[in-house]
């Protein structure tokens, strides 16, 4: 049974408003990503207990919750990064455009081009700025001539809001950029292989406030082209950048809804406790 998460609740925080935990249906628009009863175990420990949700195309969804709640684990399900974690077992169904990404015939390398990822600590390759961005398209055969490649690199750097700062430094090492620039370089790198979805795992936590502000502005631009999921510890950031927010706690999805509603008038007491700082 699904709850209509688009409806703003008038229930008080004391009222036990019945909610089908672990399921959150997208309010409108085409569904891009869906998860049904996703469980992740690390060895004998179940870290995610049956998460279900839908994410619309061109939506920015924020995952929030205290440390260890499973939000990054769940994020990594969408591009099968958990496959690389020894002992991790994923069950349930995750689909992109209706197609199960854990089906046997899925090419994981192609999947990870379609679903790009940006990590907490900027991790540019030990290559030039240009090569950082060109690497992916070259690997996937997305540009065959030099002119095509230059066009892809420039377009990606522009869309990542970095072109003006690096256009005269394309041959310099990616690691010579500032932290904020490196992170935008990583975003450009992800964009260069024409993904549909960008996953961001605390993309700003290693950055100063100015660089953070630049990336947050960038996210509003990027959502016109991509669907974005962002994991963040910074609640105000989640409130600023996302359309909907999902609150996780100890491996459960407690509540998912329009961001304004989650931060102004959540229906679940645990969500209220978390966003008001009554629980860390």
């Amino acid at each position: 049974m699904a709850i209509n998460v688009a409806r703003a609740s008038v229930g008080s925080m004391q009222a036990a408003l019945p909610a089908a935990r672990g399921e959150a249906r997208a309010a409108s628009g085409a569904v891009k990503l869906s998860a049904q009863d996703v469980r992740v175990r690390y060895g004998s420990n179940e870290a995610l207990h049956g998460i279900s949700m839908e994410i619309n195309a061109h939506e920015v969804v924020a995952f929030i919750g205290p440390s260890g709640c499973g939000k990054s684990t769940f994020l990594r399900c969408f591009n099968r990064m958990n496959d690389t974690v020894a002992g991790a077992q994923v069950s349930g169904r995750i689909a992109i455009d209706g197609r199960d990404i854990y089906a046997r015939e899925v090419d994981v390398v192609l999947l990870r081009a379609q679903v790009g990822m940006v990590f907490q600590k900027p991790n540019p390759f030990p290559k030039s700025v240009f090569e950082n961005v060109a690497y992916g398209p070259r690997l996937h055969g997305l540009a065959t001539t030099k002119a095509e490649m230059e066009a892809v690199v420039e377009s990606s750097l522009r869309r990542a809001g970095l072109w003006d700062e690096v256009k005269d430094r394309l041959d310099e090492p990616g690691t010579s950029l500032s932290g904020g620039q490196q992170q935008r370089l990583c975003i450009a790198r992800a964009i260069a292989v024409s993904p549909d979805v960008i996953l961001m795992d605390e993309p700003c936590s290693a950055l100063d406030p100015i660089a953070t502000g630049v990336i947050e502005d960038l996210i509003s631009e990027l959502k016109k082209t991509y669907t974005i999921i962002i994991v963040t510890h910074n609640m105000q950031q989640a409130a600023r950048v996302s359309d909907r927010t999902a609150f996780f706690h100890l491996g459960d999805l407690i509540e998912m809804g329009p961001t304004a509603q989650i931060f102004m008038n959540p229906t679940q007491k645990r969500t209220e406790d978390y966003v008001t700082g009554r629980y860390g």
Binding site: A8, S9, V10, G11, S12, M13, M235, Q236, A239, F263, M264, N265, P266, E272, D273, V275, T276, G277, R278, Y279, G280
Partner: protein, 235 residues
């Protein structure tokens, strides 16, 4: 709000600003009561006291708003905490206006005394007192509802708002009659119309406070919403 924040400092700040609102409410209430006493007894001394206290009410509004802004900037509150602070801002503004209305009544009393109106003995001051008692009761109920964050009590305030409006309409008709009967009564009657209007506005401010309480508790903005809808939202 019985549960504590992780930051006890934040708890203390919210408690402090909420207490100040209630103090301001008590002061505003007492200003209205004193102003009406001044009118009932044509006491220039009491009227002067009310006017001297007005500054204190105004300062409290400024201080409460400054405190509230500091909390918002430093704590970035969400959900009930944010709604409470927004309600506190509205409460302080409404209570400051209540103070203004009391001061208006006090100035009217001074004017009536200074013009030496001999016909004042025939003025329906007792009726005005009744209207004022209703308004003060509404204000007290609204402040109680705020103190306890009691949405049901707040709805009760909304239900009784009409009573004050009806009293005002009745007073207006009565004063018009006085003016028609005796043109010498016009000036003082008009003054009393303004007093009656000021009291009616006190009732409106109590209503605004009650709406703010419902907003804090239920997260629903019930301004400009029909009473039946408000009742179902609160249930």
């Amino acid at each position: 709000m019985s549960e504590k924040h992780i930051s006890s400092q934040f708890d203390a700040e919210l408690r402090d600003v909420s207490t100040r609102v209630l103090e301001m409410g008590g002061l505003a209430e007492s200003q209205v009561a004193q102003a009406m006493y001044a009118l009932a007894h044509f006491s220039g001394e009491t009227a002067t006291q009310v006017l001297q206290q007005e500054d204190r009410v105004n300062h409290m509004e400024v201080e409460i708003d400054a405190q509230m802004q500091r909390i918002i900037a430093t704590r970035q509150p969400a959900a009930t905490d944010l709604r409470l602070l927004i309600a506190i801002s509205k409460a302080s503004a409404n209570l400051e206006r209540v103070g203004d209305e009391a001061a208006r009544v006090a100035r009217t009393v001074q004017r009536l005394i200074n013009t030496g109106v001999s016909s004042r003995l025939r003025l329906p001051v007792a009726d005005l007192q009744y209207e004022a008692d209703l308004a003060c009761a509404q204000l007290r109920k609204a402040l109680d509802a705020f103190a306890r964050l009691d949405a049901a009590a707040a709805v009760d305030v909304l239900k009784h708002d009409d009573q004050i409006d009806q009293e005002f309409d009745g007073l207006l008709r009565k004063l018009i009659t006085y003016m028609m009967e005796d043109p010498r009564m016009i000036s003082s009657s008009i003054d009393l119309v303004f007093v009656a209007k000021a009291i009616e506005r006190v009732g409106d401010h109590a209503k605004n406070l009650a709406e703010a309480v419902i907003y804090v508790v239920k997260g629903t903005d019930v301004r400009h919403v029909a009473l039946a809808e408000v009742e179902s939202a609160v249930r």
